[in-house]
């Protein structure tokens, strides 16, 4: 009696999440096979695989997929390497470490839109931006970051935001490292690299897994940073899959094609999700 009552407590979360998943998902699937454009409501009906043909043969799709993977991969790489390096440096005790830590962590709490606008206007603007000014001082050629290196610009913005996240996780993880083991290794004369390779890195394994998984979830659907800076351009140079579908759906009002794109995005996300969950989450559920 009691057990069945407590079991029933699980129901709300399961039912709600199931609805949150299945209702929009099945609608997306349904729309993806329909002719459905908000601008031409009179054209409707079953369209077969037309939407998929249209979306999958879009020449921009290949670029968008490559851009998405480049973004996810490079941001995770930069933030993990930098975050770990800084976390190791911060193990040294010194005056003002608390303030240094707060300063280093702050970017993580900045809104994605604000993050993008700070960099776009005050740093990367080719006329008034600080980067342009610094280039000028050293006599380097001025770079119009968002036009010339749009993808790199977005990687810089997101790495600035997410390195602090990785740092936060690594810092806490390092606190629980077995100090005696480290001291023993030092007495044995182990230098920095052996200590890092055989003690620190294995200890950080779980933290790295967490950082990679959470970041992958968020970076697969980067949107705000692109929306307020490059708008996916120039051309499709900084369009990721999320943004490509967004332009289909909201700018061309084509629900059918956008839904086909949505199904495509879900398939990609699931391939990565299965891989991540297999390797990361399974171990953490134990």
């Amino acid at each position: 009696m009691r057990v069945s009552f407590t079991k029933a407590l699980q129901a709300p979360s399961i039912i709600l999440l199931f609805l949150w998943m299945i209702v929009p998902l099945s609608m997306t699937l349904y729309f993806s096979f329909m002719r459905y454009n908000l601008l031409y409501p009179e054209r409707s009906g079953y369209s077969g695989s037309l939407n998929y043909d249209f979306f999958l043969t879009d020449p921009a799709l290949f670029d968008a997929v490559i851009n998405t993977l480049t973004l996810v991969g490079s941001i995770i790489f930069i933030s993990v390497v930098l975050g770990m390096g800084i976390a190791l440096l911060l193990q040294e005790a010194f005056r003002g470490r608390g303030v240094v830590r707060l300063m280093l962590i702050s970017p993580f709490f900045i809104m994605p839109t604000v993050n993008a606008l700070i960099w776009k206007n005050m740093f990367m603007n080719p006329v008034y931006g600080l980067f342009a000014f610094i280039s000028g001082v050293f006599g380097w050629p001025v770079v119009d970051w968002l036009a010339d290196l749009p993808l790199l610009s977005i990687i810089i913005m997101l790495s600035w935001q997410w390195t602090p996240f990785a740092l936060l996780i690594f810092m806490t993880s390092l606190q629980s490292m077995d100090k005696e083991q480290v001291e023993a290794a030092e007495i044995e004369g182990a230098g920095f690299w052996p200590k890092f390779r055989y003690l620190t890195l294995p200890h950080l394994y779980r933290a790295i897994a967490v950082v990679v998984m959470i970041q992958a979830i968020f970076h697969l659907s980067i949107f705000a940073e692109i929306f307020v800076t490059t708008g996916g351009g120039p051309g499709y140079d900084s369009t990721n899959t999320t943004f490509l579908i967004f332009t289909q759906a909201l700018l061309q009002f084509d629900v059918g094609v956008a839904s086909a794109g949505g199904v495509f995005a879900i398939v990609i996300a699931n391939i990565i999700a299965i891989f991540l969950i297999k390797t990361v989450a399974q171990g953490m559920a134990k």
């Binding site: 009552f5 729309f31 970017p107 994605p112 606008l117 960099w119 600035w160 779980r206």
Partner: protein, 278 residues
């Protein structure tokens, strides 16, 4: 010889400290620059070379408030982030309790499935959600944001609570059951007090994620229910040339959550790692 070794250590220590300070300055500089720009006039804001010393003005802040009603957007942000977090917690606490102490054969699979719903790209379900919200008359309302934010964060909250509840020894619960306590008593007087830190960190993380959520906030709201992320996005268009005002708006949009984050960084770390990294 000994002195040389000591000097080496000292040099190493000092260079590490120096590196830490330099890194901190580099990482914090964009935020510092944003705050500094918000205190400039528009002309000073775009001056070349950039100005470090000037007579600060607080005019921009009052202009932002007047022009776009900052307080309305801030209120929306607070209501939606806290509302969604409370909503998600009300659903998640009993569920996680039940899964942690009365696990079934599929509990672990259910938890993994819940996490996998986080991987569903928002853009993949944008049109249906938009149309559903439209037909329910919920477009541009705080209600729709609260529901969506709660569903988005529910899996993470479930995971956190589950892992924190798991750490409570079952013996304590069994003892209280012998004394005849009900499920509600057990939850309220034993489970929640013992895992208070975990519940708080789950709530904090959820609030930060809601506050900074941009995709749904931009696409589902207009003037009425817009949150601060939507306000900032609206400043990115033609008006975006007014850097000083934009900086003032940005500073006002971020300050609450950054300060909030500073106070809570410890709990947040536990939250972010699903309690796995201690």
């Amino acid at each position: 010889m000994n002195i040389g070794y000591k000097n080496m250590r000292r040099l190493k220590h000092q260079s590490i400290v120096l590196a830490c300070y330099i890194l901190a300055i580099i990482f914090f500089f964009p935020i510092f620059w944003m705050i500094l720009t918000s205190l400039k006039t528009e002309l000073q804001a775009i001056s070349v070379p950039p100005l470090f010393f000037f007579e600060p003005t607080f005019e921009n802040f009052s202009i932002v408030q007047e022009r776009s009603d900052y307080l309305k957007y801030a209120t929306n942000s607070i209501i939606t982030s806290f509302g969604a977090t409370i909503f998600a917690l009300i659903i998640a606490v009993p569920s996680a309790y039940s899964m942690a102490f009365f696990p079934g054969r599929f509990t672990k699979d259910i938890l993994l499935w819940m996490l996998s719903t986080k991987m569903l790209p928002a853009v993949g379900v944008m049109m249906p959600v938009y149309l559903l919200a439209d037909s329910a008359g919920l477009l541009d309302t705080k209600t729709v944001l609260i529901i969506i934010f709660a569903m988005m964060n529910l899996p993470i909250i479930m995971w956190l609570l589950f892992s924190y509840f798991k750490e409570i020894p079952v013996e304590i619960l069994e003892a209280s059951r012998m004394d005849g306590s009900t499920t509600w008593d057990e939850l309220r007087h034993i489970v929640l007090p013992l895992s208070w830190g975990g519940v708080a960190s789950a709530a904090l993380l959820s609030i930060v994620l809601c506050w900074n959520e941009a995709f749904w906030a931009i696409n589902l709201t207009a003037g009425d229910a817009g949150t601060l992320t939507a306000l900032i996005a609206s400043y990115s268009s033609p008006e975006g040339l007014f850097w000083a005002k934009l900086s003032a708006a940005s500073t006002m949009a971020c300050a609450p959550i950054v300060i909030f984050g500073w106070f809570c960084q410890k709990q947040l770390v536990q939250g972010l790692t699903f309690g796995a990294v201690k």
